[in-house]
Amino acid sequence: MEGIARGDEEAFRRLVDRYERQILNLAYRYCGDAQESRDLAQEIFLKVFLNAGRWKPRARFSTWLFRVAVNHCLNHTRRRAREPVVMAKPNPALSEAAGQDCAGIPTTSGSSPPDSAERQRAARVRQAVLSLPPRQRLALILHRYHGFSYQEIADHMECSLGAVESLLVRAMDRLRASLGDLARGEQ
């Protein structure tokens, strides 16, 4: 980080290579759009580069990075809420086709879901996650897809342990309400 603070581009490249997948997918699962998530991830890393001098070694770097990412995602939603709507959101039912995102960007599995029923199911799950309120969505993503403990999520989101638990319980209640029929079919 000291190197990055001095403007060392090689050190920055190594850092981005290490964390880009995590930050990109946090942004992607948060906003649901591949192109937008690339822009978000790019902005997050740019912030890290420009503010590298502010990082204090007493905190873990990954905690600081995720804190920047979480704040950036929440600010992005606030900004979007103030802007007039220009384009409709991509249709999630169409976007999981052929193992690609709607922008043609390969998904992590790289293969297409085998049939339309599974595709529709994936689209519903995605829509359910995207319709969660921003903080609940972020807590769920950090826990479910990044495997962070409640304490780590509390550090990333700068809130108490109880608040994280409450966010996750409310997120799960909403998901059960929207995906309950699918879940009962799974059992």
Binding site: I105, T108, R121, Y145, L175, R176, R184
Partner: protein
């Protein structure tokens, strides 16, 4: 503990984020409550469903190149912007010091005094109205209405009038 409270703890129970005392209470309740067991299974199933929301791959050449290019663009914009911004910031920085306020006050008083002096001097200027009138007269074409006697133009008009009379 009632079902309502237990169901609030099911998520942390499922995630293994519950202390041992509470865990034991939840387990005791679950052993005798079919509805809460059903809720727990449903949560577990929803958790499995969430796995179908796949992530995406990073760009082929990595994000670092894009970020560094964005940084270069930002630096360029900043350098142009700083041409205007730097003097303004310097002014602002000086304004919020005791000397800055004194300088600004002297500057404002100077403007006010200058304006008062100018107004006073203009009022005192002699014959200003007369000068204005003579200037207006100089541009008034009426002063040329009477032609000088025996001038070329006088003779032209006379010859023209005589010719018209002869024709008539």
């Amino acid at each position: 503990m009632g079902c309502r409270r237990i169901q609030k703890r099911l998520k942390s129970f499922l995630d293994g984020e519950i202390d041992s005392a509470r865990k034991a209470k939840v387990e005791r309740h679950l052993a005798g409550c079919g509805r809460c067991r059903q809720a727990l299974e449903e949560m577990d199933a929803v958790g499995r469903l969430l796995e179908t929301y796949e992530g995406i791959e990073p760009p082929e050449h990595g994000l670092a190149t894009l970020v560094l290019a964005a940084r270069a663009r930002k630096e360029k914009t900043r350098s142009i912007y700083s041409l205007v911004r730097t003097p303004l910031l310097a002014f602002r920085a000086h304004l919020f010091t005791p000397y800055g306020w004194a300088t600004a006050s002297v500057f404002l008083v100077g403007i006010l005094v200058g304006q008062l002096v100018a107004t006073f001097l203009l009022r005192q200027a002699p014959g200003q109205d007369e000068q204005s009138q003579s200037s207006a007269q100089a541009f008034d074409l009426e002063i040329f209405s009477e032609l000088p006697p025996n001038s070329l133009e006088q003779r032209y008009w006379e010859a023209l009038a005589a010719g018209q009379g002869g024709n008539g």
